[in-house]
């Protein structure tokens, strides 16, 4: 007589492995006093342009570095290297997102204690990066005014996973009749209380606020006893 299969309860998080590495990274960054910001957005929202500007402007005052993820090419690293900041490209091949282990490997011989800020530019993708903790202190999600006000509603998971929403290319807002109140409402709908920055990396509008925000968060993170 055949017996029924037995159902055995187990509880295992599928992302445990990534979470373990991310926690290790976070502890390392925290001990070194490094403030780590990751950037996520769809392709073409202006992650690299923003990062380029941030590296240029923070560079003279702070020790900054960046890791940039892309499926292919080292174009972004070459572009960002013009800022004189140390930059490393993470080429993911066909993988659509960065994982904590890739960040750990890419860091290589860099000593976080020699850095005030480390920026991690994720692969352009509003879906897959949402679930992967990279050990960052803050996650920025970018949306450009040309993408439409409903981006947060279409990709609630990633907006909910981020700490700060950055509305980019604001110099084009009038041309595309961007509806600010609607965009703000949609962001707050998926992540109540979310911090919102508005800027144009091209014209520099809003950059001062963005840099001041980053510097204040760095100071705050160091004020907390480690």
């Amino acid at each position: 007589m055949s017996q029924a299969p037995r159902l055995v309860e187990v509880r295992r998080n599928l992302l445990k492995q990534n979470d373990v590495v991310a926690r290790r990274l976070r502890e390392r960054f925290s001990a070194a006093g490094t403030f780590v910001v990751s950037l996520v957005s769809s392709p073409g929202s202006g992650k690299t342009a923003l990062l380029e500007r941030i590296l240029m402007e923070l560079g003279p005052r702070h020790r900054v570095a960046a890791l940039v993820g892309d499926l292919a090419t080292e174009n972004d690293a070459a572009r960002l290297a013009r800022s004189q900041a140390p930059v490393r490209q993470i080429t993911t091949g066909t993988l659509c997102h960065l994982e904590a282990a890739m960040v750990e490997t890419a860091l290589g011989d860099w000593d976080p204690a020699q850095l005030d800020f480390l920026f991690i530019e994720n692969v352009g993708n509003l879906v897959c990066p949402a679930s992967y903790d990279l050990g960052e202190s803050l996650r920025f999600v970018l949306m450009s005014v040309t993408e439409g006000e409903d981006k947060p509603l279409k990709y609630p998971t990633i907006f909910n996973s981020a700490d700060v929403a950055v509305i980019t290319k604001v110099d084009l807002a009038d041309a595309v009749e961007f509806q600010w109140p609607l965009a703000m409402h949609n962001i707050q709908a998926v992540r109540p209380g979310m911090e919102i920055l508005r800027l144009s990396a091209k014209t520099g509008t809003g950059m001062a606020e963005c840099l001041a925000f980053l510097e204040s968060r760095l100071a705050e993170s160091r004020a907390v006893p480690r």
Binding site: S2, Q3, A4, P5, R6, L7, V8, E9, V10, R11, R12, N13, L14, L15, K16, Q17, L95, C96, H97, E99, V127, C128, A130, S131, Y132, L153, P156, T157, I158, N160, S161, Q188, A189, V190, R191, P192, G193
Partner: protein
Amino acid sequence: MHELSLALNLVEIAREEGARLGGRVNAVHVRLGAMAGVVREALHSSYEMASADTPLQGSRLVIEDAPVVVICDHCGEQPVPDGSYWMGCPRCGAPAPVLRDGKEMELIALEIDP
């Protein structure tokens, strides 16, 4: 398509648990939050690929959906209706930024042949 990465993790974890428990695994049960950002169909086809040529080949993947649950300051834990992306209390309407549940991706059970 991060579902393939997830499926590979799942197969590895399920193999480990299966070996620990002994016997052939014929089904793998996972619990996926509504906000986990995982496409069910993609996970099913990825699971088939990831489990090929492993002891889990031919096993079924059973997905249990977990609702988003928010914590409201006034009403406590409240499940959010399916398909809603507004992170607020469904009872009193207050914004509820804290997610209690809804992002989980867990292996919860294995069905083992006797």
